[in-house]
């Protein structure tokens, strides 16, 4: 008879937000059912226990048991973890999972997190993102020069190479700033989520594909001591529920975009797609940024090289096995 586990899990997005939050909430519900009540993981809203960006440290020192987040959040602390969240011009979910589960990704991932006293289980997957809401139509990436955009992460670094001024706005300022033109555009998540956020009310041009962020992994970070104290059955239960959460996230993510896109179009939003030529230019900027990261951080280098080696080899199968 194993000890009953009662954990507190910090959310990094509100439970009401599709995918970002609902996947965490689903984890809470499913683990209770699957474990027959032997594991209780309670979802706490962001800021209820800990501010979202502080949850890494909090799990690491054991101030909270777990957090539901994405490895990409920790780019400022552990740059290498960005490789395990979403890469610009990164892979679609089957390829990403193939590398992670079978291509050597998971070993590096576990090793990196273990250095910080964390055991993490991949626990969700998001559909590709939109690549931004703009007030005015952007004819080509060369038009981006001088624009003020709210954009994060490696994508923001790549855009700076086109003369974009990346802005770091306080949350309540974002809406008035875009409305009044302090910023010319912003990037958030995907159609189903952006619809709820209401960006369509103030910007009418929505761009695709999300070159900066294709499939995105979400993970359940667990304090390593707490994880090690679980029975094997309990560990397997968490892994099983998380694995199922990844499956659920992919399927749901693909399913909910179409109704959202329709609704956005009804509301007068124009959907745009970057030209191949533009994407090529963006890819060039991204390659530069990644080369900088690889040079700056040995763990990033190791993780990224593992991924790109896999990707090169995988291309054979992708070209052969899949219809173009």
């Amino acid at each position: 008879q194993e000890a009953k586990v009662k954990w507190k899990m910090a959310g990094t997005f509100s439970s009401s937000l599709p995918q970002l939050g609902t996947l965490g909430k689903r984890l809470e519900e499913q683990i209770a059912k699957v474990s027959g009540g032997s594991i209780e993981i309670r979802f706490y809203e962001p800021n209820a226990l800990v501010p979202p960006l502080e949850s890494f440290d909090a799990v690491s020192v054991g101030a909270i048991d777990a957090a539901f987040s994405t490895p990409g959040f920790w780019g400022g602390k552990v740059p290498a973890l960005q490789v395990f969240a979403a890469l610009p011009f990164g892979p679609p979910s089957p390829e990403y999972m193939a590398w992670f589960y079978f291509g050597g990704g998971q070993e590096i991932f576990d090793e990196i997190y273990a250095k910080h006293g964390i055991h993490s289980v991949m626990c969700g997957m998001l559909a590709p993102e939109g690549s931004g809401w703009f007030r005015e139509e952007i004819k080509s990436v060369d038009d981006l020069a001088g624009l003020k955009l709210r954009f994060f992460g490696l994508g923001a670094k790549a855009l700076e190479k086109f003369g974009v001024s990346a802005q770091l706005l306080a949350a309540p300022d974002v809406y008035p700033a875009l409305d009044r033109g302090v910023i010319d555009g912003l990037e958030f998540v995907q159609p189903a989520i952006d619809l709820k956020m209401g960006f369509w009310q103030i910007a009418k041009h929505y761009y695709f594909p999300g070159w900066h962020q294709q499939s995105t992994f979400f993970d359940l970070m667990i304090n390593k001591d707490k994880w090690d104290a679980l029975s094997e059955t309990q560990q397997a239960q968490i892994e099983a529920v998380c694995g199922d959460n990844v499956r659920y996230g992919i399927a749901e993510g693909e399913a909910i975009q179409v109704p959202a896109l329709k609704e956005l179009q009804e509301k007068g939003v124009q959907l745009h797609r970057w030209s191949d030529e533009d994407l090529q230019k963006l890819r060039g900027a991204v390659d530069e940024v990644i080369a900088e990261q690889v040079a700056a951080d040995p763990d990033f280098k190791r993780a990224y090289e593992s991924f790109s080696t896999f990707r090169t080899e995988y291309a054979t199968w992708k070209d052969l096995g899949y219809l173009k």
């Binding site: 509100s14 501010p51 949350a171 309540p172 209401g198």
Partner: protein
């Protein structure tokens, strides 16, 4: 939950009230009571020492690293600079001459100033401090009743949390998955409604009890010669400043937070034109800003500790448990939620209250049935704005009404906390009247978002 589990966190609230009246600084009472209960929880095996780490996480992540709170010191700076450089004085003198025939004219001017500020910031600490610095000395000189002055300033200064842009509405939008634009549009009419209720109340009170808001003596008016020049001197500089602050937001030059910096800079430029600027003045303004700002952020630090321990000891669950026990539906449940939110406002700030109530009641409220009164897809928006109106009140309710503390500190030469407590009661009742109106007439909330095509 056992009775003990329910009572333990709730007793934190009781102890806090007792300790607050000891007169030890509010910020440290909050921290101290929180730590006392963390220790108690530790002895009962409900709290692990390592959890205290989150106090640091919260002070850092929610307070220090919070980009919107940066507006607070800049608005305070603007207020102190305007006060010390004499710009504010000219304005209010001329206002009281111009409005001498209007009952309660000066108080009305304060409400209007508060409403304008509310459209530029959502930061209550900033607007209350600024209104207190600018208006309180003049109101006192004109012989205004202290309680009335306190009520007018603190309630007008809290409008900013409701009238967009507002950080509270953004956070509520996240928690409820409602577009921010809907909430912003929904809050406009209720916000101006409250402002209007204050104005009506002031006029009525001025007519019924003129002694509380004396008109300017004719002798004072006679002293004024060359009114147009005075108007120019008094009105022009602050008008330019308001145009700069509002204009930089509307013109798309600055975010609301940055507009505070523009205002602070502009106030300094005005002091230069007013020939009152000196390095000594700048030093005094900077020091005054640091002190008032530290008072506000001290309360933030203490409050985040207190609410964290309350939550860890099961406080949220205790509140939800009490609501569940009553097993109410539709209108009665809605009214109960409003009462609970109002009561929580005595102790907690809006963020903690929204975190306790909104996630749990979002699905429940969405499923409520109000017949023809509110279309089912608009219930959540209507509910959210009603909660927002209610939460504005939490800034005003004693003993732990942050707006009252800010006013106490900024106006310590004139007002005691007792006077402030008494003065705010009529305004709290006006707030409740505004809330009841929004509940009875959902169109007050829902019309504008609908009109905007959301």
């Amino acid at each position: 939950m056992t009775a003990f589990e329910t009572m333990l966190p709730l007793s934190m609230l009781g102890l806090l009230v007792v300790i607050l009246f000891s007169g030890f600084p509010v910020a440290f009472c909050l921290a101290g009571v929180g730590l006392t209960f963390a220790l108690l929880g530790g002895l009962l095996g409900m709290f692990h020492p390592m959890q205290l780490f989150l106090i640091v996480s919260r002070i850092w992540g929610s307070i220090a690293e919070n980009l919107v709170l940066v507006a607070i010191p800049m608005f305070i700076f603007m207020g102190i600079m305007l006060e010390k450089s004499g710009v504010a004085r000219h304005l209010l003198e001329i206002l009281s001459v111009l409005m001498r025939r209007v009952p309660g004219g000066l108080a009305l001017a304060v409400v209007l100033m508060g409403t304008i500020m509310a459209a530029t910031t959502g930061i209550v600490g900033a607007s209350v401090v600024m209104l207190a610095l600018l208006a309180l000395p003049v109101m006192m000189e004109r012989g205004y009743d202290k309680a009335v002055a306190a009520g007018v300033i603190s309630s007008s200064g809290t409008l900013g949390i409701l009238i967009p842009p507002s950080i509270m509405l953004v956070v509520m939008g996240d928690l409820l998955a409602i577009p921010v634009g809907d909430l912003f549009a929904g809050a406009v009419i209720p916000g101006f409604l409250l402002s209007g209720l204050y104005l009506v109340y002031i006029v009525v009170l001025a007519l019924l009890a003129p002694a509380k808001m004396p008109k300017l003596a004719q002798a004072e008016v006679d002293k004024v010669d060359n009114l147009p020049l005075l108007v120019l001197r008094g009105f022009l500089p602050p008008t330019v400043l308001v145009v700069c602050v509002l204009g930089s937001i509307i013109g798309g030059f600055a975010t609301p937070t940055e507009a505070a910096g523009i205002g602070a800079f502009g106030a300094t430029v005005l002091a230069v034109f007013n020939r009152t600027f000196s390095i000594g003045l700048l030093r005094d303004v900077a020091r005054g800003t640091a002190l008032t700002n530290a008072m506000i952020f001290g309360i933030f630090c203490g409050a985040t500790l207190f609410s964290y321990v309350f939550r860890e000891l099961g406080g949220d669950d205790a509140i939800i448990h009490v609501i569940d026990l009553l097993d109410l539906h539709d209108w009665t449940l809605l009214c109960l939620l409003m009462v609970i939110i109002f009561l929580l406002g005595f102790f907690f700030d809006w963020l903690e209250i929204t975190l306790i109530i909104l996630p749990v009641f979002r699905p429940i409220v969405m499923a409520l049935d109000f017949g023809d009164a509110v279309p089912s897809d608009k219930i959540l928006l209507w509910f959210a704005i009603a909660v927002a109106v209610n939460l504005q009140t939490s800034y005003l309710t004693p003993p732990f009404g942050p707006a009252l503390f800010y006013l106490r500190q900024a106006g310590h030469a004139h007002l005691s906390l007792g006077q402030i407590y008494r003065g705010v009661i009529p305004f709290t009742l006006l707030q409740l009247a505004g809330l009841v109106l929004c509940l009875l007439f959902p169109a007050l909330v829902l019309w504008l978002p609908d009109y905007m095509g959301y």
